[in-house]
Amino acid sequence: MTDLLELAGVSRVYASRRGLIGRAVAVRAVDDVSLRLAAGRTLGIVGESGCGKSTTGRLALGLERPDQGIVRFEGEPMPAPGSPVWRRLRARMQLVYQDPLGAMDRRLTIATQIEEPLVIHDIGNAAERRDRVAALLRDVGLRPDHAARHPHELSGGQRQRAVLARALATDPALLVCDEPVSALDVSIQAQVVNMLTDLQQARGIAMLFISHDLKVVRQVSHEVAVMYLGRTVEQGDPEAIFADPVHPYSRALVSAIPVPGARRRERIVLTGDPPNPADRPKGCAFHPRCPVAVAACRVETPALQTLPDGREVACHLAPGTIRKAA
């Protein structure tokens, strides 16, 4: 069976100019990332801000074209953004935003906006669309009287539900959720996340779940990719990664998850400069902050290697791939 979504060695480079007369600097937001996502599964992408999570999501949706590598959806290469084929493909893949208020047109009612994808893709007649909007509102847990409201008249959680209803209107096969609950209260987060997983199971949607919140990612994902400075550093089963992270960066991330009731575990606090994608360190990008870096880390960029348990790790010091320091 072919994967629903495949990113094969994709890179995205932005040109950033510093100062008035500074030379343009190439910023590798995403660097040689390969991901696969099967129908109905969830791939979580975690990492700190600026690590290329959101760019990966945009590449997966075809909103941007990779500078290297290829994105395939249902086995077909992603068409150019804005082309008619690309526009038609929008019905099959949708994006859920971090900021639901910004993602909605504040002049239109909720019902109009949820109906919009159906109008755009010419699905059903007026009466059928009305019924579909009512059903979608029910599915995401909004009341029928919310339909006539404007976005600013809803709470944050309700707005995110409305954005979700709009994304689900065309029955997409792929949902890219870019920090979908980061802007919400913790209590609302849980509701929205549960609703998301319920809807996913009911409709068999594949999800690319981008977040910096490890707890949420662990709860929803079938597979997790940890990103650092545009590269995947560890990828695999979430239970394995969260129970026994191999890459030093994953270890630091996991140690930062607060555990209720437990005595404080050893907490790995990263030192050194926060990463700057415009000035990527030579060798392993993580070595300036890595507590266990050896000489080879400064010289050679580690490739992703498969561990015995099926996980992939990009570290010279990973067990089984250990190499003596030169």
Partner: protein
Amino acid sequence: MSATTLATVPPLPRRHARVPTLVAVAMAWIVAMLAVALLAETIRPYGITALDLRARLTPPVGFGGTARHLLGTDELGRDVLSRLIVSIRISLLIAFGATVIAATVGTTLGFLAAHFRGWVEQLVLMLIDFQASMPFLILALSVLAFFGNSLPLFVALMGLYGWERHARIARGLAIAANAQGYAAAVRQLGASPLRIYLRHVLPNIASTLIVSATLSFPEVVLLESGLSFLGLGVQPPMTSLGNMVGYGREYLTRAPWILLAPSAAIVLTTLSVSLLGDWLRDRLDPTLT
């Protein structure tokens, strides 16, 4: 008693705030001006070129004049009220026509620049800079000198005035909308560019464009006055508000009513348009109620 009174108070309508008095007055004035403009031929008491040589420079009623000429006459004995009525018609036609043309052209070019970026944007920006750096009077002068003067040409020429401001605003706001938020979201839904710009971006930035249009409306009236004063605008025997002001300037000390009547019409109309535009901007925004 008080209980029954309370019970009969109807709930406040949620988004239908009362029209402020000043705005109501402004609206009434604009409606009156539009009615005058439409009915000019039937409500003017005299022809605009009809001379009453025995009643030259008659002051208005209340200042020593008679009811025959309510706003007095000029030095040829032409009825000021009749000329004012016809002037309002011509000036409103020019000002509204030119503002609509400028807003349409400017917004379209601004959207094109924001959508295509690249060389289209450079071209539009170059046109904007050219328009902004060129003294409009000189441009108008040369066009009118080459092509002669007719009312449609004059309206079209006035329409070239101020489009660059609309273009700048439309381009800037459209780029901002495309970069983040609702326009990007609708694009992501698969909407065509036409749908994004007409159904989402335009209504969202309409408030700013309306305010910009209400600012350029008085400017067009004043520009028309200036050109008419230079003899390049509306040609006699036709008359416009600016034409009347320019003409009445010579009689400012002896017969100020010739100049004051059209001046008052200009001030009141432009002020009303500004007030109405300001109020419309707030009303068109569902988040401000």
